[in-house]
């Protein structure tokens, strides 16, 4: 589904990713762990096409197409979803309006019929219920006045509504208490644990991996994958620390 080969990327002329290679197949969940400044968030932003993140080398194929050739909204329509570490507040734009606009823009680009207001509300309500987010919250402006946990839950509701092929979840576990962590973990499994989907979980800690079992764990350090393994690698990292394992 996703093939990253020898990816180099920089911000303001400063190289962050230095030859990163990674392959995700449909049906797989991968976790990327690593110390601060390793380039974890940069990987998510580079793959989603954030302005300012310049690719200087390598290639990324997504669903058989050149991902780097596409605009950010085209990458989204192709099925790529980025769960933000810090979801953005947008005053004056309601969640429902935002999501309906987004979903229909994606559907338009894919040549699918747009959803009517009623059809969309049905989808939105089902996803909000599944993640324990009050429907009233979806009527409020995007992330405005939401607690850290509510913002992350909202990211998962958005993921459920948009129903992507590949989700890159950037520290979705940060700022969550134990109950919220369980809900979010359950959400990821329900929405994304499917034979035709894949997940790239970016995280510092093992704790989210108790709820979302990864098939593969990678250690990102210095802009490259320095080790790959199974779920046991996450436990080893938790025990030994990054310095030890990445060395």
């Amino acid at each position: 589904m996703l093939t990253i080969e020898n990816l180099h990327a920089e911000i303001d002329g400063k190289p962050i990713l230095k030859g990163l290679s990674l392959t995700l197949n449909a049906g797989e969940i991968h976790a990327i762990m690593g110390p601060n400044g390793a380039g974890k968030s940069t990987l998510g932003y580079t793959l989603s096409g954030r302005p300012g993140y310049a690719v200087t080398g390598g290639s990324v194929a997504f669903m058989g197409e050149d991902l780097l050739d596409k605009e950010p909204h085209e990458r989204a329509a192709a099925g790529l979803f980025l769960g933000f570490q810090y979801p953005v507040e947008i005053p004056g734009v309601s969640n429902l309006q935002f999501l309906r606009t987004a979903l229909n823009a994606q559907r338009r680009l894919r040549g699918q019929a747009e959803l009517s207001g009623g059809e969309f509300l049905k989808v939105a309500r089902a996803q909000a219920d599944a993640l324990g987010l009050d429907m009233e919250m979806l009527k409020r402006p995007v992330n405005v006045g939401f607690s850290g946990g509510e913002k992350k839950r909202n990211e998962m509701v958005q993921m459920g509504i948009i129903d992507p092929k590949l989700a890159i979840l950037d520290e979705t576990d940060s700022g969550l208490d134990i109950d919220a962590l369980r809900t979010v973990g359950h959400g990821i499994n329900t929405i994304m644990r499917k034979p035709d989907k894949a997940v790239l979980l970016i995280t510092h800690y093992q704790r989210l991996l108790d709820y979302v079992k990864p098939d593969f764990v990678h250690v990102l350090a210095g802009g490259r994958i320095v080790r790959s393994g199974g779920p046991e690698l996450a436990l080893e990292l938790e025990r030994e620390g990054y310095a030890q394992v990445a060395a």
Partner: protein, 365 residues
Amino acid sequence: MIHALDLDTLERPKDEAHRWFDFDALKAAARMAPAAAPDPAAWFLPVDGPRLVFVDGVFDPAASDPRTVFVGENKRVDSAVPVGIPTEGEGWALFLGPDHAGDPVQVVHLSTGRRNHVPARIGLVDDAVASVIETYAGPGGWTHRMTEIGLGRSARLMHSIRIVQDGGFVSLNHHAAVGQGASLVTVVLGAGDAGCRIEAQVTLAGPGAYAELSGALLARDTTGKEAALVLHHAEPGGTSRQVWRSVAADRATASVAARVEVARDAQKTDAEQSLKGLLLARTATINAKPELEIFADDVKCAHGATVGELDRNALFYLAQRGIPPVEAKALVTRAFVADAIGRIGDAAVRDAFMADADAWLGDGV
């Protein structure tokens, strides 16, 4: 009459209140050749009530249904007016007696070229309630309106004004006196591509009066749009609100100068002012000039003025969810504009005005 003014000798006012006045645009508008008038029916909202159409300042009886609204010669309106324009002439007037609640009055002003002027008066006697919706449309020309408003004790007026004229210039001049416990809410949408100047002087003339002057100015290309507003608290216990949102793209200029005056006797005044500007291009200009002049000592006056650009983080967030750049910009800008247009109480009017703002935004910002 405005028609008799000699454009060549007409001088640009030099006072501070006309600092951002695009006088040349006004003169150029007045020299535009008349064109065919569009169909006024398209500009009426589907609400029942009196309907008035003025084409190039001339009442169109065939397209109108004035009912209780007076149409005819308006004699002297006792106010100072800009660039020396007398305020007499054919116009309209709405007078409502005590406890009378009128159906919404819709006035459509179509301008095709040259210059036109219509004086208007709105007088609401004690406890009367009215809603007036005015639309300025048409291809061009200089449209000038002088409106005098008087509200008696506890009367209430919702005055919604949309300027969607395609070209030329629209200058509005409002003089209002708000009586004891009365409420005047004026919300203006300046969309379209005509230049505009909205001038208003509102006096809270009775104790406990409420006055609101809000609006959104959307300017692009090289258009200049401005509002020059004075809210004068003359009596105690008055409340006033000003919420202005300016959007400027390309090389356009949007300016709001809003003054709150609190007289010595106007204790317990509660005034709030929020002027915000959104620059859609670095070549555009936003001016915001909040002014407070306070002579009473027991008052609450809040004011804020900010100018900024679209939030790039928000735009990327929207893009990542699949919203193309043009749509994303329009969505965020729309939210900004909605702060002001949302002050309109009637949902049907509010939605129609937002649709006009959407049309402007959808044309590409």
